[in-house]
Symmetry: C2
Subunit: 222 residues, 2 copies
């Protein structure tokens, strides 16, 4: 007993950290917030984690009721997804991201893997934080050639990023990871000129909304 991850304090913050404060745990939640994932998906997103520790974290999270396993009948695949208790961690991840954007962000280091999923996840967190509110709900589909598509949605209240298609897309953005990052991390004044790296496919209305959302001061990332 008295395992080293425990604090033994009568304090809700310490209690929360006992549950989700170990290494990798919140990053598993981060990735599952974009939708259900398989073991190897998670392994790939969390560059550097070993299968042993991913197993351990997944079993702990399942024991805590934060994630659930979904085995597809007949197949050996296992899909992991968040329970409500797990989805309720979204504000924790968002506050961490907001703090990190202001105080810990840095350019990609040599050798650091970059995933469009996470770039867009950070973008939606930022749009929520800045209170960017389009007039109506929308679905943007980002395509990167070989990779899986990533969907950015606004449901009328909140932005989120998903990997499973949430419905018919209003706009499809085809681009490369490099062009997307160049666009998102550019100062607002330069964004319009970087649009050439993005191919937008959708109604004129949908293209206008995208343009306004991404080049309005409230959506600045820098």
């Amino acid at each position: 007993m008295a395992r080293t991850k425990d604090y033994g304090h009568f304090c809700v913050i310490a209690r929360s950290l006992e549950v989700i404060g170990e290494k990798w745990t919140l990053l598993v939640v981060r990735d599952l917030l974009r939708g259900p994932q398989r073991f190897t998906d998670l392994l790939r997103y969390m560059g550097g984690i070993t299968p042993k520790w991913l197993s351990a974290r997944l079993r702990e999270l399942e024991a805590e009721g934060i994630i659930e396993r979904d085995s597809v009948e007949g197949r050996r695949e296992v899909w992991y997804r968040l329970t409500k208790k797990g989805r309720d961690l979204a504000p924790v991840l968002e506050s961490l991201a907001v703090w990190g954007i202001e105080h810990a962000m840095r350019p990609p280091q040599p050798g650091e893997p970059i995933f469009p999923e996470m770039v867009l996840q950070a973008t939606t967190i930022f749009l929520n934080r800045r209170g960017v509110h389009p007039a109506k709900p929308l679905v943007w589909q980002f395509e990167f050639g070989e990779r899986r598509a990533v969907f950015v949605t606004f449901d009328g209240e909140r932005w989120s990023s998903r990997q499973d298609e949430p419905g018919a897309a209003d706009l499809t953005i085809t681009t490369t990871l490099g062009a997307l990052i160049a666009f998102l991390y550019a100062p607002l004044s330069e964004r319009r000129s970087l649009l050439s790296g993005l191919s937008l496919e959708g109604s004129e209305d949908a293209r206008q909304i995208f343009l306004e959302t991404m080049t309005r001061p409230a959506a600045a990332t820098a």
Copy 2:
């Protein structure tokens, strides 16, 4: 290099966790959010931490620009306090507390130290979360006999708990730790009857505001 606390991901969340994700780090911030503290204050609040690790964490936090050391001229005391970068972590602590209140709280375990500072800190986080908004700013002073007083303030926007006096108190609540916990953790319907364990000293107006704030549905803790 490639220390084990690092992730090597291009992700703001992973970056934040590299900075504040190690054991004890966020609990240091938790305690400093209530005001500047000395080494031994922190040692006491974080039951179980060894001086060695508290030293290490304080030096790391200082190197990151999250805390600052204040040496009082002539005295050997060192006071630690948060910088803006550190105060900006408040939303992270709050979201952790909110999640913990719903999903990880449990009654005090045998041997767990209990501090009124943390009980009241959790209370103010909860009042903020529930959007409890008295008509005007206020200062409540909680007295527990021998211990230092704890101040709960509402500045017109947000609740907070402090250990240094923020100004003249509108109301002084004298009680014991046991009576306070019994009161705060009781269902709303039973709170009024538990008021007998609290001695309120202040204007009739101030007493009324306290009563309404603490027995109104929005302020429920259970």
